[in-house]
């Protein structure tokens, strides 16, 4: 898994590539925490290059959402591959996190 953050005026875009599983989820968690600890609570998670995300990764998203909401912001997802949508739904992510179809709309939602 690789991570890359781009900062905009009202949100940071974190883009991950590869697999998010029990091995790699801690690094993702750290990257989200780094943004939130920096005082920024608007985050777009760009999943266009994510091949796989297990429940361990999905919990990272939900915990990040908790932290963002607490600071008056939000986490949103963008470019979620069709085949992983069902698991995002089953793991509760869809209830708690907005999912956008493209990056412009996601960034434009802040």
């Amino acid at each position: 898994m690789e991570l890359q953050t781009t900062s905009y005026k009202r949100c940071d875009v974190l883009k991950a590539s590869g697999r998010i599983d029990s091995q790699t989820a801690p690094a993702l968690e750290q990257a989200f925490n780094a943004i939130v600890n920096d005082g920024k609570s608007g985050i777009v998670f760009d999943m266009s290059a994510v091949d796989f995300i297990s429940s361990r990764g999905l919990w990272v998203l939900l915990e990040t959402q908790k932290a963002c909401k607490k600071e008056g912001g939000k986490l949103v997802l963008v470019n979620v591959a069709e085949e992983m949508k069902e698991s995002l739904d089953l793991a509760g992510v869809k209830h708690f996190v907005e999912i956008y179809a493209d990056l412009i709309t996601a960034v434009g939602s802040f």
């Binding site: 697999r19 029990s22 796989f52 297990s54 429940s55 939900l62 959402q65 992983m84 698991s87 793991a91």
Partner: protein, 139 residues
């Protein structure tokens, strides 16, 4: 049945995922179904490492996977203490976000992703988790 043995470490999850995905692909499953098989197996292996063995590098996982007339069967064997799957409640997402506990989606996802999930526990021959996914008309 094609069988491979892995040390119970998270770094092996990618290889295990690739192993079962390839067979699911060969079985003619579509992308969403292949993903479902990989996800169920990843959740199961994470549980074996985390809850069964109680940590990384403390035991092995034997993964067998094959195409069957009805679809695909995956068998995961481990030599941990075992548990009672009946005791595990389904996750509850009807609570407010702040009250959500970051736990308990793995078993639920396995059961949703696969058509049949069976545990059998044997202190001698090891615990066997058998998961089957059927090829439906759409695949």
């Amino acid at each position: 049945m094609p069988t491979r043995k892995f040390i119970g470490r998270y770094e092996n999850l990618a290889a295990i995922g690739k192993f079962v995905s390839r067979i699911a692909q060969k079985a003619g499953f579509d992308a969403a179904q292949v993903y479902a098989v990989q996800l169920a197996v990843d959740e199961a292996c994470t549980n074996i490492i985390e809850h069964g063995y109680g940590g990384e590098g403390l035991g092995e996982i034997e993964c067998a996977c094959d195409i069957t007339p009805g679809g695909v069967t995956v068998q995961l064997r481990d030599w941990s203490a075992g548990f009672n799957p009946e005791d595990i409640p389904s996750p509850n997402y009807t609570v407010p976000l702040e009250q959500l506990k970051p736990r308990g989606a793995g078993l639920y996802l396995m059961r949703q992703m696969m058509d049949d999930v069976q545990f059998s526990f044997d202190p001698v021959r090891g615990n066997l988790l058998t998961m089957k996914k059927r090829k439906t008309d759409s695949s």
